[in-house]
Each structure stands twice: as structure tokens, then as C-alpha cells.
Amino acid sequence: MHELSIAQSIADAAREHASQNGGRRVVRIGVRVGEISGVSVDALQFCFEMTVKNTDLDGAALDPEPVPVRYRCAACGQEFHPVEFLADCPACGATGASMVAGDELGMSFLELE
């Protein structure tokens, strides 16, 4: 349960960008939450609302985008969502795909008013 500290980091980053953009009000914050980032989207949403209540960010919406794990086949370039992390390519059958998405935890956008 480290979503509270993650939510606080998101709020800090949003404030920093808002002040760099002339101190405008933040209405929406987009974040990408990888499937294996270890962060629960529901808990993050709850903690975010809690951490911004009665602050300058009160009312800003958190818009988390869950990012599924995606592999890319080293042989044919096919991208796929692996079943239980198996690297067998569904297109060509080769093994040795590598993970190209799913472990990120990143800011993606801010909507400012």
C-alpha cells in the first residue's frame, strides 16, 4: 500500500507543472499505470482524492490509464499481450520476446484552465 506516497508525488509534479505554466488551475491529471508497476489504480484514485482535499488541487481529476504488459517478438516484431508472461510469439512461435510496456508509472498529461 504505497499508493499514498505515489499520489503525493503525482500531486507535487502537477503543482510544479502548473506553476511553470503561469499558475493555472489543474483540472485533470493523466497517468500511465503499468500492469506490473505494483500500483493499484483504485487505491491510487482513493489516495489522490484524499491527498488533494482542501488544497489548491481540490477538484482536480486523476485520470489513470492502465497499461497492459506487452511483449515484442524478437524474430518477427509482432507485439502481443503474453499469457502468464510466456514469451512464445503467437504469430511465428519464436521465443525470446521482450517486454516493451507494462512496468511504467508515468505522468502523461495535465489539463490546465
Binding site: 506516497s5 508525488s9 509534479a13 507543472h17 508472461f85 508515468g106 505522468m107 484552465e113
Partner: protein, 228 residues
Amino acid sequence: MAERVEVRENVLKENDRIAGELRLALAGRGTLCLNLISSPGAGKTSILEGTLEALRRTPLRAAVLTGDIQTERDADRLKRYGFPAFQITTGGTCHLDASMVQRAMARLPAGDLDILFVENVGNLVCPASYDLGEDAKVVVLSVAEGDDKPLKYPGIFRRARLMMLHKIDLLPHTRFDRDAAIADARRVNPGIEVVETSCVAEPGLGAWTRWIEQRLSEKRQAGRPARD
């Protein structure tokens, strides 16, 4: 009218910034830093006790920062080996972050330090997200926990350089499938290295201490100024 601004950065960029400072400071001292992560009770503190006991017979200088939600018990256990050991009591937080390590580093004696062990809070989820400036994350999976952990907690197995299959002497008494555990860890992280260890029986901690020696010599090679 709201305007959308693209922001491409890590959510934990402040933690990453401090971790970067730590990494630089550790590189300056030539210190290898290992971040040990496991479930509660997997054996991190016992592994460190055995490791420090082995290091006493070498000229290497080590130190330990050990994280727990409550109590100073682990630091008390680890101080007995003659190396500096300090507790980081998180007071409820389920992981260590880089700022906690940076504050604790200030308590370590100045001077040469070959190896810094950071024992994270017992938890396979949250510690995986935080860079502490370490050279490697080490995940300890004890046989008693079951072989399903790599696929249940892929984040940490993805980010660890080494998996210690620990309490391996218990293998005959459990249904733990060693080959499946290793294969599953490699599904998530094809490059993960594996050592098998026990604090109480054969094969002991030899594979682990040899792994540390290799990382240390690797670090020293990398730190040596290039010759013209």
C-alpha cells in the same frame, strides 16, 4: 477552456533524483550497494548475519541499513558482527525510498566502504517501485513461501538482478518446484541470475558471497579510470 499539456516523466522523479545523487556518492566511494527485497520472514536478516560473519574474515568493509515498520531489532542483531548497522524505522510505510536511505547514509562513518547492504521492508510489492541508488536489487524467495511467487509478484522479479532461492535445504520437505520457480522468474526477467542458499545447512551462502565478490570486482573495473 482547458488546455492539455503533455507531460512525459516518471511519477517518482523526485525519488529518482535523490537515488541518482546516492548512486553518484556511492560510486565516488567505490561502494557496491545491494537492495535486498523479500516477503516478511524469507530470511533477509539471517542472510545478512551469515554474510557479515563471512566478511569478518576478509579485509572488506561493509555496512547495513535495515528497514522495518517498527522496532530496532534487526539493527541490534546485525551490529554484533562489528560492522556499522543502522535501523531505518519507517513508522508505517511499507517500503524504503531514496530520501530515507540518504538520511540514514549520513549516520554511517566516513571513509572507505566496500559494500552497503540495504535490507528493505518485508514486502514483495511496494519496494519494487523505488530506486534507492543501488547497483542491484536482490529478491529473496524462500522455499517455504511456494514456487508461485514470480508470476504473482512479477514487478520485483522483473527488476531484480539476482534471485536467491533461500532455505533450499527445505526442498525435500515441500512441494516447491525449483525448476518451475526459476523458469517463471525468467519468463518475467530473462536475464535474472539465480543462487541457491541456506543459512542452516548445505549449500550455505557460498554462491551468494561469490556473486557479491563478482559484482564488487565488476564495480571496481568500471570505476577504474580508462588508460590512454
